[in-house]
């Protein structure tokens, strides 16, 4: 998968973030800003910066970086907000949007706007807080002194031309400007220079101006009142007595452009704005996808499921009919067509949601390489479980937190190569990303073999930040501190991480997905950050089994093999325990019908089938009556309307519309032990409802 595949995702995300940012900015009460809102604005900027950095959108990244810095001050209360500052932020947001659009249509963003906004923001920082921000610094005195090399020729050319006109005449054409605005604009122009003549109508009003200012400066002033594309500024050669509504080209051949070597595009050279606009746009880039709310897709999935069931009922009815009536061939045809279409529809709908983790993982080689390069570290990235399928909504939402975690690991976890060598580790640090199903969850891990977390340092930092901590806290609790808002042990704020905002976002995002984050860390040996996400709507490769009259689903990933147990291989142990010998290994035996109280099941082990399963490193043989087959099932949460059931991870709906329960391998083992420990006593319901699933750690 190519990184370009993620561009669209980024553009969509960034667009959403920008509109969020705008909304929050608009809602913001400048006199009494809500800190949640400031945080939200800041986080949006932070996320855009991260994404832009990943994809190499330097201009967008830099713009966001400066804005983010300012927002950070605002968030901390070091910058007092005023309405005009918010206006500037909004302007910055608009420019970021333009930059985004430019990147989307594979163009370089407008360099002028970029420099202008950077300078404005820097100025705010200087005026309000009295410090220069890091990031691109543009000399305030001469903003256009050094146009970046990336700037296209036409643009540079027009700049030069505009500059060259310093002492000349400019033909300023105002397009579609209302009368009242026009009067204002002409007044403005009079401030800037000497208005030689003016004429025209609302559609095109031309002013000849003798001014020492460059066309860009004039345009910048006027842009406060009207849109940039309403202005056309042309350099007029010599003294133009009459405004020439003719082609701008008249002036071109002799345009006084001493330092304009790129005179090769004369037709564009004289008009500043059209030069930037005339590039062909890739309109097709716009509508390649649409964003639809997950609820709507869920609703469709449910409805299609019902449709399938209704269809099979109809099918049954029709096939019963066939015996008695004649001439129903067309009905038969219709039915088989309906069946095929319904199945296709179901497949298509299901495929909307599910994508493999590879989609997420494949963007990380780039992230890791760039980040490691920036930090001067050597990293080997290993990914496991790429084919684990995950709900699209989860995939979308897991990407950002995962990026933060990876960056964090690289920045704070893995040591510098020299340090690693000195303490006897390989120079190259190892970062592992893995994904797999576990119990009723999806487990995504970010493991590094770096320095690990220093408990004492975390505690000290927490105290410094005024958090309520004590020395008796468990390691897990201490490690969780890094998720506190604003918490960072990094000494420097870098481009990569250290602001303490990342981890705050990580936890928030994961919690909003109904998941949790756990950290295991050993000082000197590395850190393992585990994201546990619920299976909501993930598709599971299942093995359907039958016990008594009941159907259950086993997650296929837990099934190792199945066999018919021979009497000689079964050994009874003290109490009720039975073990089975499978290739020189003794495995405990758990009979499903006992654990789940299934009636009419096969009780003779030698007549049943033993499925060897593995969960959380524990292996056992599960006795079932019958294996039915393999199928993909949609995982449905039991807890939505009911509660967690011991030994059951979730439910699914079978082809006939009935519900089948998905077995939780580890949970069943625990349940079996629990029941055995309860001895011969009848396990009553009260007891069982107090039976709590121990959280897998």
């Amino acid at each position: 998968m190519d990184i370009a595949d993620f561009f669209d995702t980024f553009f969509e995300e960034a667009e959403e973030l920008l509109s969020d940012m705008e909304q929050h900015l608009l809602e913001l009460d400048v006199d009494d800003p809500d800190s949640e809102q400031l945080n939200a604005i800041f986080r949006a900027a932070h996320s855009i910066k991260g994404g832009a950095g990943t994809f190499g959108f330097t201009v967008l990244q830099k713009t966001t970086h400066i804005l983010e810095n300012l927002l950070d001050y605002a968030r901390k209360g070091e910058l007092t907000l005023r309405a005009d500052l918010v206006d500037t932020f909004l302007e910055a947001k608009d420019i970021m949007h333009e930059q985004l659009d430019a990147y989307r249509s594979e163009e370089e963003p407008n360099q002028e706007a970029f420099e202008r906004i950077c300078q404005t923001l820097q100025q705010i920082a200087l005026d309000e807080i009295g410090q220069q921000l890091d990031g691109p610094t543009i000399p305030a005195a001469e903003p256009k002194a050094a146009p970046a090399p990336s700037e296209n020729d036409a643009q540079a050319n027009s700049n030069n031309n505009a500059g060259a006109s310093s002492n000349g005449h400019l033909l300023v054409a105002l397009l579609n400007v209302e009368d009242k605005d026009r009067i204002l604009l002409v007044e403005e122009l009079e401030q800037l220079g000497e208005v030689q003549s003016q004429s025209g109508d609302a559609k095109r009003y031309e002013v000849v101006l003798k001014s020492s200012d460059s066309a860009d400066d004039i345009e910048a002033v006027m842009c406060f009142i009207i849109e940039p594309d309403q202005i056309e500024i042309t350099v007029v050669e010599g003294v133009a007595a009459e405004p020439t509504p003719a082609e701008p080209e008249v002036s071109t051949p002799a345009a006084p452009a001493p330092q304009a070597p790129a005179e090769s595009t004369p037709s564009k050279a004289n008009t500043t704005k059209p030069a930037a606009k005339e590039k062909p746009k890739k309109a097709a880039a716009e509508s390649s996808s649409i964003r639809v709310s997950v609820d709507k897709v869920d609703q469709i999935i449910n409805l299609v499921g019902e449709l399938i069931i209704t269809q099979s009922m109809l099918d049954q009815t029709v096939s019963d009919l066939e015996d008695q009536s004649v001439g129903n061939a067309s009905l038969q045809n219709g039915m088989s067509l309906l069946q095929r279409n319904a199945r296709d529809l179901q497949e298509a709908v299901m495929s909307i949601r599910m994508i493999p983790m590879e989609f997420v993982f494949s963007r990380f080689p780039r992230v890791v390489r760039d980040t490691a390069g920036k930090l001067g570290k050597e990293i080997e990235l290993i990914t496991e479980g790429k084919s684990t399928e995950l709900d699209k909504s989860l995939v979308e939402r897991i990407t950002d937190p995962l990026t933060h975690l990876v960056r964090n690991s690289l920045d704070h976890g893995v040591e510098m190569p020299d340090v690693r060598e000195a303490i006897g580790k390989p120079r190259i640090g190892k970062l592992t990303l893995s994904a797999r199903h576990q119990g009723g969850n999806i487990l995504i891990e970010v493991r590094d073999d770096g320095a690990g977390m220093d408990r004492d340092r975390l505690l000290a930092k927490a105290r410094e930040n005024g958090l309520n901590v004590s020395d008796t806290m468990s390691d897990e609790e201490v490690f969780q501190l890094i998720f506190a808002p604003g918490f960072s042990t990094a000494n420097e704020v870098t481009d990569v991480s250290g602001r303490g905002v990342g981890m705050d976002v990580v936890k928030r995002n994961i919690q909003s997905m109904g998941g949790r984050v756990e950290i295991q860390s050993k000082l000197g040996e590395g850190t393992n950050t585990r994201i546990v996400l619920p299976l909501t709507l993930a598709i599971l490769d299942g093995m359907s089994i039958k016990v008594g009259g009941e159907t259950f689903i086993l997650p296929l990933s837990t099934v190792l093999e199945s066999l018919q147990p021979a009497k000689d291989d079964m050994y009874a142990m003290a109490g009720d325990d039975v073990v089975i010998k499978v290739r020189d290994e003794y495995l405990p035996v758990i009979a499903i019908h006992e654990v789940l109280n299934v009636e009419n099941a096969i009780t003779d082990p030698t007549k049943s089938i033993a499925v060897i399963v593995q969960g959380e490193g524990r292996r056992y043989a599960m006795l079932v009556d019958e294996l039915i087959g393999q199928q993909q099932v949609v995982v449905k949460n039991l807890e939505d309307n009911y509660r967690k059931v011991p030994g059951i991870s979730a439910a699914t709906i079978l082809g006939d519309g009935s519900v089948a329960l998905i077995l939780d391998i580890t949970g069943l083992h625990r349940l079996s032990r629990y029941k055995k420990e309860a001895g011969k006593k009848v396990v009553n319901n009260q007891n069982l409802s107090s039976f709590k699933e121990a959280e897998p750690s």
């Binding site: 499921g305 949790r516 949460n637 309307n641 059931v645 439910a651 709906i653 009935s658 519900v659 699933e693």
Partner: protein, 165 residues
């Protein structure tokens, strides 16, 4: 909300309310019609192991997994049969969808505030905590069940009492 309803009923100042009347054995019960999502037949229920007896299991309601509670078992009725008349009332309580099995649904009744009498303190099987009153209608008596309270109560074991997340 149920408490608010309750209070309002006791204060006899609420407007007329509509109830869905259903039967359990020979007795007539009623629940607030606004809680009712739909009524369907009893079929295709998947048993849940180790659940209390009155939780019959779960069923598929247009893609949603819905637990089914048999109130007859919960209220210790002697005769619990599943036949053509047996219906499931699907109710919406506390953002959940739950189906309750009853012997039959008869009417929708409108009760005026003065037709609703406070429930006396009685009963071990059905604590008066779970009643919003008794409806008297000519010679009939309706037991008005506060379905919200009943289904979210600990003893129904439908809702996780203490969340471990």
């Amino acid at each position: 909300m149920s408490q608010a309803n309750n209070g309002a009923v006791l204060a006899a100042e609420a407007e007329n309310r509509e109830f869905l009347v259903f039967s359990l054995g020979d007795e007539e019960y009623a629940i607030d019609i606004l809680k009712v999502q739909e009524i369907r037949g009893y079929e295709n229920v998947t048993r849940i192991a180790n659940a209390p007896e009155f939780i019959k299991g779960v069923t598929n309601l247009r893609g949603v997994i819905v637990p089914i509670v048999d109130l007859r078992i919960k209220f210790h009725f002697d005769k619990v049969e599943y036949g053509g008349q047996t219906v499931v009332i699907v109710v919406n309580v506390a953002d959940r969808v739950v189906g309750i099995v009853v012997d039959g649904v008869s009417d929708v009744m409108t009760l005026t505030p003065d037709q609703i009498k406070p429930a006396p303190e009685f009963g071990v099987t059905l604590s008066s905590d779970f009643l919003s009153g008794l409806g008297s209608l000519d010679d009939r008596m309706l037991v008005l069940v506060d379905i919200d309270k009943l289904l979210t109560s600990d003893e129904m074991a439908l809702v996780e009492s203490t969340s471990n997340h």
